[in-house]
Amino acid sequence: MGRVRAQPRSRLTAAAGALVLAVSAPFGGLGRVPLDERVEAVEPGETLDAAPFRLVLERAVAVDELPDVVTPDVEGNHLMVVVAEVTNVTDAWVYANLLSPVPRSSPQSRSIVVLDEGLAPIGFPSTYHAEDDTRFSTVNPGLGHDVVIVWEFAGAVPDELSLGIATLTERPSTISPDVLEWTDPAEAATVTLPVEDRTGRAP
C-alpha cells in the first residue's frame, strides 16, 4: 500500500482510468456507439436542417435509365433516383455537388452519405431539376427546388435505401484563406427511404 501511495497522482489517475476501461470493455466500453444511437432518424418527407441546406428526402425509385437524361455506364446496372426538395438556407449560392451522395469511406465533404456500401454510387452522381430535367449545378439562397439525385449502382434492387445526412461548415480553404468552402461533415441524421422498383419496365 505504501508503494502505491508513493506513486505520482497522475500515474494513479491513469491506472484507475485503464482499470475502468478494462472492466467495462466486455460490456461495450470500448465499442463504437452505433449510428442510430448517435443521431436522429427522420422519416421520409420530414424536413431536416443540415447546413447549408434544408432537405426533404421524399422517396427513392430504382430504374434502368432516365431516357434522354441518364443511362448506366455498365449494362445491367441500375439507377437510384432520390426525389427531394432542397433549399439553400445560407446567404450565398453553393455548388449543388454538395448534394452528390458519397459512400461512408469517402473523404469528400458532402451532405448525403449512402450507408449501404453495396448501393454506393458508381461514377459521379448527378442532380437535376425535377420539373424540366435541367442539370442542377448551383443552389441559390431562399428557393425550394424539387430535384432528383441520380446515381448508378450495381447489384439487386434493395427494398430500402439508408442515407446519412451531414451538416457542413463553411470555413477558409486550405489553399487560400480568402476562399470559403463547405467542409467538415458532421453526422446530423439518418433517413431510410423505401425503394420503389421500376426496373425492367417502361419508366
Binding site: W93, H129, D132, R135, T138, N140, P141, L143
Partner: protein
C-alpha cells in the same frame, strides 16, 4: 530562469495579447489590403475595369428561359441582364464572374440557361445576356457585381451595377409569365 521571472514573462505575453485584442476591437480596420476596387455605376453607365469596359444596358425578367439548348423553369423569378463588355489588353477567354446581390446581402449566381460564353476578343464589344434565378423578395434593391475571377477578386476591379429596382418595379418583374430566349454571347450589334 527563476519561477518568478518565468511567471513574469507569461503575464507580460498574456497582457500583450489582451491589449492587441482591445486595440483591434476598439479601432477595427474598415477593410483589408486585399479588398477589390469596386466601381459603382448605374444601368446604362460604363464601368471602366482593369479587364474590360462593362455596360449593363437592360433589366428584364422571365418565368422560363430558353438558351437554345435547354428550357429552364424556376420556383422563383428569372432576372435577366444584358451586358456589353469590351475586353482590355487581352481577350476574355473565361467568362467573367457575375453575381446578383440583394438588399440583404444574399448572393445569387447564374446557373443553367443564359450563361453561354464564347471568348471575347480584345477591343471588341461583346454582348452577353445573363440569367439568374432568385426569389421575388430579392429583386428590390438588387445590384449586379461583375469580377474577372469568381474565386479571387483580391486587389482587382469589380463592377457593381445598381439595377434601380424599387418596390413597384420589383412587383412588375416578379409577375412575369414570359418565356425569354437567351442569345449566345457574341459581337454586339
Amino acid at each position: 530562469m527563476t519561477w518568478f521571472v518565468r511567471a513574469g514573462v507569461g503575464v507580460t505575453v498574456l497582457a500583450a495579447l489582451a491589449l492587441g485584442r482591445v486595440v483591434v476591437d476598439t479601432w477595427p480596420s474598415p477593410g483589408s489590403d486585399v479588398d477589390p476596387f469596386v466601381r459603382s455605376v448605374e444601368v446604362g453607365e460604363t464601368a471602366v475595369l482593369r479587364f474590360a469596359d462593362l455596360t449593363l444596358s437592360n433589366v428584364r425578367s422571365a418565368a422560363v428561359v430558353d438558351d437554345g439548348l435547354e428550357v429552364a423553369r424556376t420556383p422563383g423569378t428569372w432576372l435577366l441582364v444584358d451586358l456589353t463588355l469590351v475586353p482590355r489588353g487581352q481577350p476574355l477567354v473565361v467568362s467573367p464572374h457575375v453575381v446578383v446581390v440583394d438588399a440583404e446581402g444574399r448572393e445569387y449566381r447564374p446557373d443553367r440557361a443564359g450563361y453561354p460564353w464564347t471568348e471575347a476578343p480584345t477591343g471588341v464589344a461583346w454582348a452577353w445576356t445573363v440569367a439568374v434565378e432568385l426569389p421575388p423578395d430579392a429583386l428590390e434593391g438588387a445590384v449586379v457585381r461583375v469580377a474577372a475571377d469568381g474565386l479571387d477578386d483580391r486587389r482587382d476591379d469589380v463592377a457593381e451595377v445598381d439595377l434601380g429596382i424599387d418596390a413597384d418595379r420589383a412587383a412588375e418583374l416578379a409577375d412575369s409569365r414570359f418565356t425569354v430566349e437567351v442569345p449566345a454571347t457574341g459581337p454586339a450589334s
